[in-house]
Every structure is written in C-alpha cells, then in structure tokens.
C-alpha cells in the first residue's frame, strides 16, 4: 500500500492542474466568442509570422 502515498498526491495535483487551467481560460475571456475562435484558426493571415 506504499504506492498510495505517491498516487493520491499525484492524482490530486493532476486534477488541480486541470482546474487551474480551466479557471485561467475563464478569466482570460476565452469563452466570449466560441464561434469566432473556431473560425479564426482557418484564417491564414498570421501563418508566416505572429501578429505584431
């Protein structure tokens, strides 16, 4: 049962990373325009160099 002492913290940390990532996306307005963001990746405007 020694393995539990690594596995439980690992599973908790992984879950917390996912939660933090989700909270980050909410806070940075990434759900404001789902339709537009899905379309924007099809545009080849900034393919060669990043938007300045």
């Amino acid at each position: 049962m020694q393995v539990l002492s690594y596995l439980i913290p690992i599973s908790l940390i992984l879950g917390a990373v996912g939660l933090a990532a989700f909270i980050y996306t909410v806070r940075s307005n990434q759900y404001d325009d789902p339709e537009g963001d899905a379309r924007r990746i099809l545009s080849d405007e900034w393919d060669d160099h990043p938007k300045p």
Binding site: M1, L4, I8, S11, L12, G15, A16, G18, L19, F22, I23, V26, R27, D32, D33, P34, E35, G36, R39, R40, L42, S43, E45
Partner: protein, 725 residues
C-alpha cells in the same frame, strides 16, 4: 438614420463632436460597438478587422462572430457614423450599437462566477468519487479511514465555495420565515457533512462526502443552464435596444448640434428630419409635414402637422423637417408615463407560480417530515443517536432535489434554443409555462397583423395616362403612400410621364406641370377631394376633377397562416385596434376573425384583456404599439415583434425577431410540449425517490446506492429534456 448622421458630420464635424467631448470629459479612447448582422465566416472577420485597423484613428478592432458585433477602440473624436461607410464599403451591413444599453459585462460576471463554482464542484467531486470507489470496492480499516479523511479535507472547502449561492438563498428565505427549494438542499448538505465527519472520526463505514459534492455539482449545473438561457435572451433583447441610438438634433442660435436625447431640456428647439422619430413631447414651432401616429394610437391615417400642433414622443415625421419646442423630456414624456399603466397591470402576472415553485412547495415540507420521522423512529427503536442521525441524513440525501433542480432548466434551455432558431426570444423565465396554458389570443392590428406598409387597392380604376402622371408625382416624394404608389406603378410597367416643375409641399403632397396644366397628388383638402374613413391620396391629373387612390395596410407575412393555425388549435382569436372601424372590419373579415373592436384606447385594450382574464381565460396578447403596452402587461403572456417600440418590447415576455408571424402557433405548441416534459421529469424524479426512500428509511441505503440513484435520475431527466430539440 445613418444617412442623416453622416450628413451632419460631413457638413460640420467640429460642431457635432464638440458638445460630445465636453460632456464626457475627453476620455483618451473611445469605445464603439457596431452590429454586423451579415458576417458569417473567417474571411468576413479578417476583412472587417483589416479594413478598420487600416484607419490611423482606430487603435484596435475585434470582431465577435458569436454576437455578430465588432468592438472598436479608437481616438475619442471618432464616431460610429464615420466607420459605418468603411464597413459598408467592404460589403457588409453595419448598425451602430448604444454601448450604454449593452450591460452584458456586468451580467457576465455572474455567469463566470457560477461557472467557476461549477468547475470547483466538478473537480472535487471527481477526486472524492475516485476515493469513494476504492472504499466501496473493499478498502478497510486504516486505508478506509485515510480515504475518508482525505475526502473530508477536499469536500469542506469545496462545498463552502461552491454551495455559496444555495447557502445565501436558503438563509434569505429562512430569515423571512419561508421555505424554498434551497432550504432542503442546504439541510441535506449540512447534515450529510456533519454525520459523515462524525462517522469518519469514529472510523465508521459510511461517509456521504461524494454524495454531498455530486449533489452540489448537479444542482449548480441546473442553475448554470438556467442562467445561460436567460443571459442569451437578455443579451439579444439588449441588442435590440442598443440598435436605437437615442440622439436628437438641437437647434441653438441657428446652429445644429447632435446631442444624446438624455441631454435635452425643457424649451429646447429640436429639429426632426423626415423619417425621424420625435424624441420628446412638444409643440411644433416651424415647418409643415405629416405625422405617423400608428405606434402610439394604431391609426394608419397620417395626421397633418403644422405649427401649434402638440406632438408626443414616438411619433414619426413623414415629409418635411419640423422644429419642435420640448414641453416634456425624459421621464415626463407620454411614452414614459405609460409605464405607470404597465406597472399597475403587471401585478396580475406576478401572481403566477411556476411549476418548479409549486413542486417545491409540496416537496420541501414532505422531505423534512419524512427525515424527521425516520430520525425519531430509529432513535426510539435503538436509542442510538449515531444510527438515527445516519439514517436521517441518508433519507435527506436520497430524496435530494437534484433531479427536480434539473427538471425545469434542462427543458426550458432546450425549448428556448429551439424557439430561438425560429426567431423567437423568450425573455421571461416562466413565459413558456404560461404560453402553454393559453386559450385566447388577442391581436393588435397596425404593425402586428399588418406590416405597416400601405398597398394601393384600386389601381385598376384609373386611366393609363392618369397613372403615368401619378407615377411621376409619386416618385418625387419619400412619403410612404407615394412610395407605395410608385412601387405599384413600377410593377405594372407604367412609365412616369414627363412632369415639369416637380416639387414637394411638405404636409400636403407633390405638384408639378404636365402639358401646361398644374397636376397634384396629395391630401384631400389640398387637391380638392373629400376625406373618407380609409387611407387615401388624391390625384388631380390636370382635368380639375380629382380622384382618389385607396390604400390598405399590407398583411404581415404569415399573419393569415398564424390566425388560421391558432383557430385550428381551438384557440379563440380576437382583434383589438385603435384604428377606424372600416379598416378594422375589413381586416377582420379578410382573416376570418369573428370578434373585433375598433377605436380602442390603450385603457380599453387593457380593460378588455383584464375582463377576459377575470372570466377565466388565459390570454396571449400580440401587439407592438405604445397603445398595446398596458394590455401586453395585463395579459397572461405577451408577444411583440422586434419592430415594436422599446416600451412594448420591455412589457412583453417574448419578442419575435423576424418579420414572419407564423412561428406564433408553433411556439404555443412547443410550449405545451415543454410543459409536458417538465411534468414528466417531475414524475421521473418522484419515481426514483419512491424506489430509494423505503431503502433509506429502512436503514439499508449505502453511499453507493445514494450515488447511483442521484446520478441516474439526473441523467434521465436531462436526456428526457433533450428529446425536445
């Protein structure tokens, strides 16, 4: 609108912007919003953004495709009117949006907050479920205790954060001595946590940490769905309001200044151009024109306007520019005074109790009594506090209202989504339930059943030569009747005659010279005819014997079908209008409506609707004008088209976004099916309880059974709701 604004700015950009800057203490950046109904793909996004960003005075522009809107940060003196031509040049339709009417940012914070709580509850419940599964599959002794302690450590902070909305609601209900759906929820949560912690400290077998968290998660999901549906409707309704940018042209020492309507004061001189709407109540001091009062009174006949005539906010100026002296502004205008009538009528609607509330009223006391009885019974039987408390907690958790909490929002989300696709905006939370009960439909005439655009009736009665003259005279004016005449002539293939010295006399009509004789098209008195009850324009084609064109209002598309479908569905259809008897009777006959009322004042309409309600009818009111506002509010449920006045849209529960009226019977049908699904969902939730409660009361429930019952009932309820799509 846009054309006029552009005109002022190009004539005198300095004076148009000067008062604007002074009022707002010169911000470093202006934020503008434009609505772009035509954009649909990534090429549109890049084209609009590239076009706007190419201007040096635009700092940044970002398109939101979901909302079909572009937000622009720009130099403070840039106006939306300067950018509209840019976008129109790219081939897209653009309208200015009033940013102060778009309060979505504040509402959005509430949604984000709810989403965050949902995420935390989801994260915690998954982790605790992971630990619980190992307990259920046989972990024992020290391992089980450790798992329980870890679960407790995750659960307590997560519940305190995630369940805050329930705690707050329950507390505010209890403080005034009432019960709502949140009270049993909070009681179940608190009891589950306390007994589980107690059990854990005694190394007991059963802990309900996972159940408490899943319960919170499902309930928050229901709340979030509910919130999303209403937020979508609210933001669409806000957009309709924001499209009407309230501006007026104030005259000061002979100069024209464009100012927000809110800044107008008593005694100000205001210039209203043809096609513009009166921003205030007032008196005409200069100019001659005709006024369209149909939105206020339902009359289709334009009224002659000359100095001295009193005008009310909301009337539309038709032919000539008018100068108006303001006698009442803002809150004092007749448009706003109508709000009092609405407030009185609205109290009737608040008497409606939603299905969810009536379910909660039955459910909440029942659960508490059951759980208390289980506690008392087991305590008397065993004299063991621990067993009794454990069983009471199990009863509360198993009967948890999470399926009930999802039953209504899941269905309304699905139904609103379906109706939104058909162009109907459900503004009020219980509008669907009320719509399902409707048995009587009351229509307004002008602007609701009719499109508000006139059509020539007796085109065939005229000689071709006369029609050619009429076409020439009509094409010189922007008056709605002239335009209808010109359109009819064009469709009949009639070429305008060569009439010289054409000129429009605002308020009267157009005149000119044809083969040396004066010719006229216009009002009865001016041309020499006699005004009848119907809308008419008189033509004198040089003979000195005037003849009249008769006009009738064109039907709104789908109106005939909607009335027929409603009658076929067994609903009684009535027509209440402020227009003259002849016009109303004519339309009622055409649509097959047996009961109608003409010349109705706003108070009459509301009284009639209230009378119907008192005789036990559930009335659906469909109307658009200011004269319908009180009736809209008095009805059991109400619909207004998007072309309605702002006040009417605010008073109604459902807004029809398109031109077509035919979705109305369809909406009644969808609403009826949605209500049926809600009742079905209640039954499903009750069924699960009937199976699980005896187990819980008998002390046979385990956390595994609780978790299974809760999840399956919530999922069945959601799936049942999805069948509506």
């Amino acid at each position: 609108m846009t054309a006029q604004i552009r005109h002022t700015t190009s004539v005198c950009p300095g004076c148009a912007t000067a008062p604007h800057e002074a009022a707002e203490a010169a911000p470093a950046e202006a934020r503008l919003a434009l609505s772009l109904p035509g954009i649909h793909c990534q090429a549109c996004i890049s084209m609009v953004e590239r076009g706007l960003n190419a201007r040096p005075d635009v700092h940044s522009a970002r398109v939101n495709l979901t909302l079909k809107r572009v937000m622009i940060e720009a130099d403070p003196d840039l106006r939306a009117a300067d950018l509209i031509p840019v976008i129109e040049g790219l081939g897209y339709e653009a309208h200015e949006l009033d940013l102060s009417a778009l309060a979505a940012t504040q509402a959005d914070r509430a949604g984000r907050d709810l989403l965050m709580r949902l995420a935390v509850a989801g994260f915690a419940s998954m982790n605790v479920m992971l630990l619980s599964v190992s307990v259920w599959s046989g972990a024992s002794d020290a391992t089980r205790d450790m798992f329980h302690w870890i679960s407790a450590a995750i659960t307590f902070p997560a519940i305190i954060f995630s369940a805050k909305p329930f705690l707050q609601n329950a507390w505010s209900a209890l403080r005034v001595g009432r019960l709502n759906m949140d009270v049993p929820i909070v009681l179940a949560l608190v009891l589950a946590l306390v007994t589980s912690l107690w059990e854990t400290s005694l190394s007991g077998e059963h802990a309900y940490f996972d159940a408490a968290l899943t319960l919170t998660f499902f309930l928050l999901a229901g709340r979030y769905l509910d919130y999303r549906t209403r937020a979508v409707a609210r933001s669409a309704a806000e957009e309709l309001t924001a499209l009407e940018v309230p501006r007026a042209i104030r005259l000061l020492d002979g100069q024209e200044y464009e100012v927000p309507v809110a800044d107008l004061g008593l005694g100000d001189l205001i210039l209203v151009r043809p096609g513009g709407r009166m921003p205030v109540d007032g008196e005409i001091v200069d100019g001659q024109s005709e006024l369209d009062r149909s939105l206020l009174t339902g009359e289709t006949l334009p009224v002659f306007a000359e100095p001295g005539l009193a005008v009310s906010a909301g009337e539309v100026n038709l032919t000539g520019p008018l100068t108006v002296r303001a006698t009442a502004v803002g809150e004092d205008t007749s448009l706003h005074r109508m709000a009092d009538l609405v407030a009185i009528a609205e109290s009737g609607r608040s008497r409606y109790t939603s299905l969810a509330d009536s379910a909660a009223k039955l459910y909440a006391p029942g659960v508490h009594v059951l759980s208390a009885l289980a506690f008392a019974g087991w305590f008397l039987y065993t004299f063991d506090m621990r067993t009794a408390l454990n069983i009471a907690a199990a009863v509360l958790i198993i009967t948890c209202p999470c399926a009930l909490g999802l039953a209504v929002p899941a269905v309304t989300t699905a139904a609103s989504g379906r109706l939104f696709k058909k162009g109907m905006l459900i503004k009020h939370a219980t509008a669907l339930e009320r719509l399902a009960e409707v048995d009587t439909v009351v229509f307004d005439k002008t602007g609701t059943l009719t499109a508000g655009t006139p059509e020539v009736e007796n085109f065939g009665d005229f000689q071709r030569a006369d029609l050619e003259v009429a076409a020439a005279l009509a094409s010189a004016s922007a008056h709605p009747l002239s335009q209808a005449l010109a359109r009819a002539a064009h469709e009949a293939g009639i070429k305008p005659a060569e009439v010289s010295e054409l000129q429009e006399i605002p308020g009267y009509g157009t005149e000119g010279r044809f083969r040396g004789k004066p010719v006229r098209l216009g009002r009865a008195v001016w041309v020499g005819g006699s005004q009848g009850a119907q809308t008419q324009a008189w033509l004198d084609a040089g003979s000195g014997k005037p003849a009249s064109f008769l006009f009738s209002d064109a039907l709104r598309p789908g109106a005939e079908q909607a009335v027929k479908d409603l009658q076929a569905a067994g609903k009684e259809v009535l027509l209440l209008s402020g227009d003259t008897e002849g016009a109303v009777e004519d339309l009622a006959l055409r649509l097959g409506i047996a009961k109608w009322m003409a010349g109705a004042l706003p108070g009459d309409k509301a009284a009639r609707v209230q009378m119907l309600a008192e005789s036990g009818k559930k009335v659906l009111m469909v109307g658009d004008g200011l004269n319908d506002t009180a009736a809209l509010a008095a009805a059991h449920v109400s619909i207004s088209p998007a072309s309605a006045l702002d006040a009417a849209r605010v008073a109604s529960d459902i807004v029809l976004l398109g031109q077509d009226l035919s979705p109305v019977p369809d909406a009644c049908d969808t609403a009826r099916r949605a209500t049926k699904r809600i009742r079905e969902n209640f039954r499903i939730a009750t069924l699960y309880n009937i199976i699980a409660v005896p187990l819980a009361v008998a002390g046979l429930a385990t956390p595994l059974i609780a978790a299974l019952a809760m999840s399956t009932s919530s999922i069945t309820v959601s799936l049942n709701a999805l069948r509506l799509r």
